[in-house]
């Protein structure tokens, strides 16, 4: 028992080292700036929701990804417009990083006709097919096999598009995760299994649900590479995702990437759940100190990739985008009640 625990720890450390040892020198300055911009945009987008949520005009359950921004940014930067991503109930960051129009996202949250899903989906069902986002699902683990299916389609059509399944540690509990890993490996499909391990499924800690906390290790059983990285280190995420995406695109099959991170807010809604006793306060505080946005900011400043002034300018630009997005959403028309019956079936009104 003790021996096996030790083994797991060693394996975890090894994979962490592997993923981070390249450092920022391997990443062009332009790319680092882009990563920071995406992370900041995601952060401000989520904060904007918190700001406008109390007036209760935005009637959709929001699952905020504050604290997890480095993952969406570090993964999606490697993706082309025609690459697929499939996301979860916590999908805002992925959509933004993949290049979705934030105006249409906000409009969706406000239940408007101009929303990315025409007001039919809400925060948990974002889509942007022209950008490779075929949809997101609020059923834990539900999107993983669908991402594999898109990978199967790429493989059958002979294209080099890849498919990313974003999911949390909770989805690891679901059969679909294992069924999908097995099939993707069997058929060598161009899929990246991207686990955002924030250690909680709603309020259930990983330790109450899984025999050990090393998700990346599961890859070995399915015969594919698995790597564990610090999900709050955008450089580490960037490197690990690059390797996985390149492998998939080159026909080398699927990979599992575990990014360890933490959810700053509660499972759902704009508030923090620590006050309610859902998670330990000291644990929460420890993770706040590991803020991925702040960490990247420091990295860029220290390496003189961006100046304070440039960062201020960037923040102003992003804040303006947020105001515009909210304004667009709030001022857009609601769907007509008769639209209730539209889109149940494709090809029929």
């Amino acid at each position: 028992m003790v021996k096996s625990k030790k083994l797991i720890k060693t394996a975890a450390k090894k994979s962490v080292r592997l993923a981070t040892e390249k450092g920022i020198n391997s990443i062009p300055a332009k790319t680092l700036k882009e990563l920071y911009e995406t992370m900041l945009r995601i952060r401000r987008f989520e904060e904007k929701i918190i700001e406008v949520y109390p007036v209760q005009e935005m009637k959709t359950p929001v699952h905020l990804c504050i604290g997890e921004e480095a993952i969406a940014a570090g993964v999606c930067i490697h993706l082309r417009k025609d690459d697929y991503i499939f996301s979860t109930h916590r999908s805002h960051g992925h959509s933004i990083a993949k290049g979705s129009d934030m105006k249409r996202m906000m409009a969706e949250f406000y239940g408007r006709k101009t929303g990315c899903s025409k007001g039919k989906g809400g925060s948990m069902h974002l889509c942007d097919p022209e950008n490779g986002i075929l949809g997101s699902t609020a059923i834990v683990g539900g999107g993983i096999p669908i991402a594999v299916g898109a990978g199967l389609a790429s493989s059958m059509k002979g294209t080099d598009t890849v498919s990313v399944a974003f999911f949390g540690d909770g989805a690891m509990d679901e059969g679909t995760f294992h069924e999908s890993m097995n099939f993707a490996s069997l058929k060598k499909l161009p899929v990246i299994f991207l686990c955002e391990n924030n250690f909680y499924a709603t309020n259930s800690p990983q330790s109450a649900r899984q025999p050990h906390d090393n998700i990346a290790m599961r890859a070995e059983g399915y015969g594919m590479p698995g790597v564990q990285v610090d999900g709050n280190d955008v450089v580490a995420v960037y490197e690990a995702a690059k390797e996985a995406v390149d492998r998939a695109r080159a026909g080398g099959g699927p990979s599992l990437v575990e990014c360890r991170t933490y959810r700053w807010k509660g499972h759902v809604g704009p508030d923090c759940d620590v006050e309610k006793g859902c998670r330990p306060r000291d644990e929460h505080e420890m993770w706040l100190k590991k803020c991925p946005v702040e960490r990247t900011r420091k990295l860029l400043l220290e390496n003189k990739i961006m100046s304070e002034k440039e960062m201020e300018k960037l923040l102003d630009k992003i804040n303006k985008e947020m105001d515009e997005a909210v304004e667009f959403g709030r001022s857009s028309p609601f769907p007509d009640a008769s639209e209730l019956f539209d889109d149940v079936y494709y090809g029929e009104k």
Binding site: Y84, F86, G115, C116, S117, K118, G119, K120, G121, H125, C127, P129, L134, G135, T137, I139, G142, G143, I144, P145, I146, A147, V148, G149, A150, G151, L152, A153, S154, M156, K157, S163, G175, T176, H178, E179, S180, N182, F183, L186, D342, D343, V344, Y345, Y346, G347
Partner: protein
Amino acid sequence: MPWTKVYVDKSEFEKAAQLQKEGLRGLTFREALKEATSQMMEKDERVFVMGEGVDDPGGIFGSTQGLHKKFGKERVIDLPIAENGMTGVAIGAAMAGMRPIFVHMRMDFLPMCMDQIVNHAAKWCYMTGGRTNVPLVIRSIIGKGWGSAAQHSQALQALFMHIPGLKVVMPSTPYDVKGLMVSSIQDGNPVMFIEHRWLYEQIGYVPEEIYTVPIGKGIVRRQGKDVTVVAISNMVYEAMKAVQPLEAEGIDVEVIDPRTIKPLDEELIIESVKKTGRLVVVDIGWKTCGVSAEIAAVVAEKAFKYLKSPVKRVALPDVPTPNSPVLEDAYYFDYKRIVNCVIDMFKGV
């Protein structure tokens, strides 16, 4: 018309064939199904078949037999035993441009895929405001007899009829199985394609070329003026067998085969009831909340004033399928039950 005629047994078809000296090609239900699949795979390279055992020597009771030799194992894909995950794979492939046909040898395996069928396939088009669609055919086969018992004989069509976003097709003749398969592949929505195993040997006229039978259109198999019998799937044959004995009693039966139960051709049923004033619904599934309940409710809502007597239902009793032949006999019914039901109706019982 040869394509609307139901041949109760093979000799009757041969008689009909002799009468029609040209143009009547006879195929079994199984052959017609395979021909539709094969011709659509030839015509459209996006079409492929997936399922456990689709490429084995038996080939899903012969309905996919040899297709892998013609189209290769890349397009006739044997699968891991992972029904829910593989349904997700089919959904993803469909959304990414393919036209999968997922085959289940037993309908009893579908409850394992309810998450992907009900939560995902059925809702994806709506959740994304019609910006995506799931062109997926899910074939499943209902077994009966020889001790198939509780998990190899279920007729679960009512479960799927309940779900908005799905279409449910239940062909009864070789002509319809081919035409409806072509329509289902071309439809663009998730279609539950339900076949009764006992229909596989039925012979009927099937044109060689590709043709369609519209989804949502039922057909009058026999015109009559005294009572409307709506029969589902292989119950169409039992209803046809009931015609003569009832004629001997002076009762002229109209037999309707809805062919698809979602969407249901309500108009055809209502028009018939307006004429006959009486309705008997014969289903191969359970009575409670079953297809017969829905059809009875539609008629009660929309044609009550035309009814001369209460609606009657002939369906399975609310118990799981037993094994012993004695219990099976008590569980299943044939045309005699329909005859008695109609006679009782006229007696006012």
